[in-house]
C-alpha cells in the first residue's frame, strides 16, 4: 500500500507552488492543476523536480522573483 504526498506553498504575492510525489509526472500535474483551479488560480509554470533543485534542497528559492 502506497502513500500520496503533496506539498503546497502559498506565498503572499499570490503565487502558489504544488509538488505531488508518488505519481508519473503527467498525473502529478493534473492533480496539482485541479487543486489550483479549485482555489481560483491559473497555472503559469510547470517544471520537473531536478530543475528546481539548483539551489541545494530548496525549490522555493529558485522560484522567488
Amino acid at each position: 500500500m502506497g502513500e500520496k504526498r503533496i506539498t503546497v506553498i502559498t506565498k503572499d504575492t499570490g503565487e502558489i507552488l504544488t509538488d505531488r510525489d508518488g505519481y508519473h509526472g503527467s498525473v502529478c500535474a493534473k492533480e496539482s492543476e485541479l487543486l489550483m483551479q479549485a482555489i481560483g488560480g491559473h497555472v503559469v509554470e510547470q517544471k520537473f523536480k531536478p530543475e528546481y533543485y539548483e539551489d541545494g534542497d530548496n525549490p522555493v528559492s529558485v522560484l522567488q522573483q
Binding site: 500500500m1 502506497g2 502513500e3 500520496k4 504526498r5 503533496i6 506539498t7 503546497v8 506553498i9 502559498t10 506565498k11 503572499d12 504575492t13 499570490g14 503565487e15 502558489i16 507552488l17 504544488t18 509538488d19 505531488r20 510525489d21 508518488g22 505519481y23 508519473h24 509526472g25 502529478c28 500535474a29 496539482s32 492543476e33 487543486l35 489550483m36 479549485a38 482555489i39 481560483g40 488560480g41 491559473h42 497555472v43 503559469v44 509554470e45 510547470q46 517544471k47 520537473f48 523536480k49 528546481y52 525549490p59 522555493v60 522560484l63
Partner: protein, 137 residues
Amino acid sequence: MSNWLRAQVSTEIKNPSRDLFDKALDDMGFVPDYSEKTVHGAYSFEASEPVDCVLRDKNSNALTTIGFTFNKVGEEIVLSVSGDFYNLRYSGQEFMKKLGMFYNHENARAHLEEQGYTIEEVEVKEHEIVMVGRMAA
C-alpha cells in the same frame, strides 16, 4: 517522480467565503466580530468608519482598530480593510497581502481535506506558508 507546478491567484479577495475568511483571520491571531459595525481609530480625534465587522484580538478578545467591509462591485463582492494600523506590525496593504496568503492557504487546505488528505505539517514563514498533506493510496 514528482513535479512542481506554479500558479498565480489574485491577491485581492473576491467573493470571499465567510468560513475561509474567518479561518484566515484566526491564523493571523484575530476573530471578526460581526456585531460591531463601526471601526474606531486608536485615538479619540480620529474619525470612525462604518464597516461590516471589526477584528478582535484572539488572545485578549479586545477590539482592534481594524475593520472589514464587503463591497458589491458589479456581480462581485470585494473585501476591503479600513482602520488604524499604527499599533500593528503591518500596514493596511501588507495586512491584506498576509490575509490573502492565509486565505489561499485555507482554501487549498479545505480542498485537500475534501480529497481525503491529512494535513501533517504547516509551517508559517514571513512571506509563505508550507503545507504537507498525506493520504494512503
